[in-house]
């Protein structure tokens, strides 16, 4: 595993002008960002072993630094990298075959055509997001194998120690090999459920990046960008899937507000105070088109509905002109088809703006016994806001103080502490 973490430390072209070396390094870094998953997925098909595939792909990227400096960046970098990684794999396997008969560690079916390198990323996605793996392991594997993050980077993203993350990834790979989790696209019967599992993983990456559960920054841009990249990848691979269209729309429409969510000093800015002229109009336009497509499927998928809610916010010219009745209506549909305590909490907040804070509080009270919300900081924050709007200052302060107990993101903590101090 450590071998795969040494990327970026490859040899430099001897004597080449610095600018060329920079351009090549840039091209390799770009190919790493865009093509890692493609190259790894295609290589794993040959190695039938994820660790060996990772090693060979690593090696191909290192070779690219010298080879591309000598003969230029190839027209199709992914194909060059894949061929190089696969050749290395075949080489290693041939050498090893004389030593012992190798057990295939990845199971797949259908042989692949020889002439072109097919896009194998769907296989890799469904292997990484297999429900027989724990969700945190699914997320870690996806970031590592499809996005090419190092173990250290994945560990940093989820604020766990590197040895902990390394152990999690190793355990997951052992389960894939040991239990025979297949390296293929599931049968049509299982497919909807398995796509749902992949969407959950991407959503978790996005959610973790959108509002980091802990730490000094509100947004972890690296994770948001990875989630967006994964959603775009799924969209290319499963163009007809309404769930995928909904997820991509949801990410685009929610992330369109990223630049305005904190001020110049890094302090939290609420939706009502955000400068709407700075929202990303291209992302909103793209997201809106996808929502329309996603909502055509009945019953609507959970992400299509969440995207539609985000779209209502994005389209409101101002906070005052937000169509809260429409938002409450969309939450009602969401709760009917995809009930969850968090969605119910968000509905209560929307209700407090369409019907008034009293109605919002009553809806919150109905959720008092939800175990999933027992240590969810946003419950206290929502209650605090509603109570403050009703002039019930002492109760509002207590609610914000409760929210502080369950909030570990420092930007959010600062925001809540300021409210406590004001009341």
């Amino acid at each position: 595993m450590t071998g795969a973490d040494s990327r970026g430390a490859g040899p430099q072209a001897d004597g080449a002008p610095e600018r060329l070396a920079d351009a090549v390094a840039e091209a390799v870094a770009d190919a790493h960002r865009r093509e890692w998953g493609f190259v790894l997925a295609a290589t794993a098909r040959v190695t039938r072993d994820l660790n060996l595939a990772e090693e060979c792909v690593q090696d191909a990227y290192a070779k690219a630094l010298t080879a591309w400096a000598e003969s230029g960046v190839p027209e199709r970098p992914a194909a060059w990298l894949t061929t190089t990684a696969r050749n290395r794999a075949v080489d290693l396997l041939r050498r090893e075959a004389t030593l012992r008969s190798r057990l295939p560690l990845l199971v797949d079916d259908a042989p692949e055509p020889e002439h072109d390198i097919p896009d194998e990323r769907l296989r890799l996605i469904f292997t990484c997001c297999h429900p027989a793996l724990a969700l945190d392991a699914q997320v870690a594997l996806t970031l590592r194998l499809l996005c090419g993050l190092t173990t250290a980077e994945v560990a940093r993203a989820f604020l766990v120690s590197e040895p902990t993350m390394a152990a999690r990834i190793t355990r997951a790979k052992k389960k894939i090999a040991g239990a025979g989790i297949p390296y293929r696209v599931p049968d049509s019967e299982d497919l909807p459920q398995r796509v749902e599992a992949a969407l959950t993983v991407v959503d978790l990456v996005f959610t973790t990046g959108h509002t980091a559960p802990r730490g000094a920054d509100l947004v972890r841009a690296d994770l948001v960008d990875r989630a967006l990249g994964l959603a775009r990848m799924l969209r290319i691979l499963l163009p007809g899937d309404a769930g995928v269209a909904g997820l991509l729309a949801y990410i685009l429409l929610t992330d369109a507000r990223r630049a305005t969510r904190v001020d110049a000093e890094g302090r939290l800015v609420l939706l009502k105070d955000q400068d709407r002229t700075l929202w990303n109009r291209d992302a909103i336009a793209e997201g809106r088109a996808l929502v329309r497509e996603a909502l055509r499927r009945r019953p609507p998928t959970r992400f299509a509905l969440r995207a539609a809610i985000a779209a209502v916010h994005d389209e409101a010219p101002s906070w005052e002109e937000t169509d809260w009745r429409e938002i409450v209506g969309l939450y009602d549909v969401l709760l009917r088809y995809h009930p969850s305590p968090v969605a119910a909490l968000n509905r209560a907040v929307a209700l407090s703006f369409s019907e008034g804070a009293e109605a919002g509080l009553a809806a919150l009270d109905e959720l008092a016994l939800e175990p999933q919300l027992a240590s969810y900081g946003y419950v206290g924050a929502a209650r605090g806001d509603m109570l403050a709007r009703l002039g019930r200052r002492d109760e509002a302060r207590a609610a914000y103080e409760e929210a502080l107990l369950f909030t570990e993101n420092e930007v959010e903590r600062e925001f809540l502490a300021a409210h406590v101090a004001e009341l």
């Binding site: 199971v107 040991g178 239990a179 025979g180 989790i181 297949p182 299982d190």
Partner: protein, 112 residues
């Protein structure tokens, strides 16, 4: 192809208090499962309840199963399948109305 052991964990109380009709229904369900998956089946047995179990640990013999749990191992099937997905597709059909099943791949020892 790999072999998987499908372990059936169920609430024993449901059988202890069940009537003949229940017993017959469960037997028929297992008969149906066996007939529909005979190509994949390599073996399988039902176990007597945990009240008949005897445990040995460190040479000390004691009455009962290792862990007293609501759902106890009540039987197993040994199946052969191409991969985990294929094994799960079969395991989902195993009758276990008072509990569930656990699927475990058999260890394959590398032959030099």
């Amino acid at each position: 192809m790999s072999q998987y052991l499908v372990l059936i964990y169920e609430d024993e109380a449901a059988y202890a208090t069940g009537d003949a009709a229940l017993f017959q229904r469960v037997m028929e369900a297992h008969g149906k499962f066996g007939a529909e998956n005979k190509d994949a089946l390599r073996g399988g047995e039902a176990l007597q309840p945990t009240s008949t179990a005897t445990s040995i640990r460190g040479g000390v013999v004691t009455d009962g199963a290792f862990a007293e749990t609501k759902e106890a191992l009540g039987g197993y099937y040994l199946i052969e399948a191409a991969d985990l997905d294929a094994a799960l597709a079969i395991a989902k059909q195993v009758p276990a109305e008072f509990g569930g099943v656990e699927v475990r791949p058999l260890m394959v020892f590398d032959q030099q």
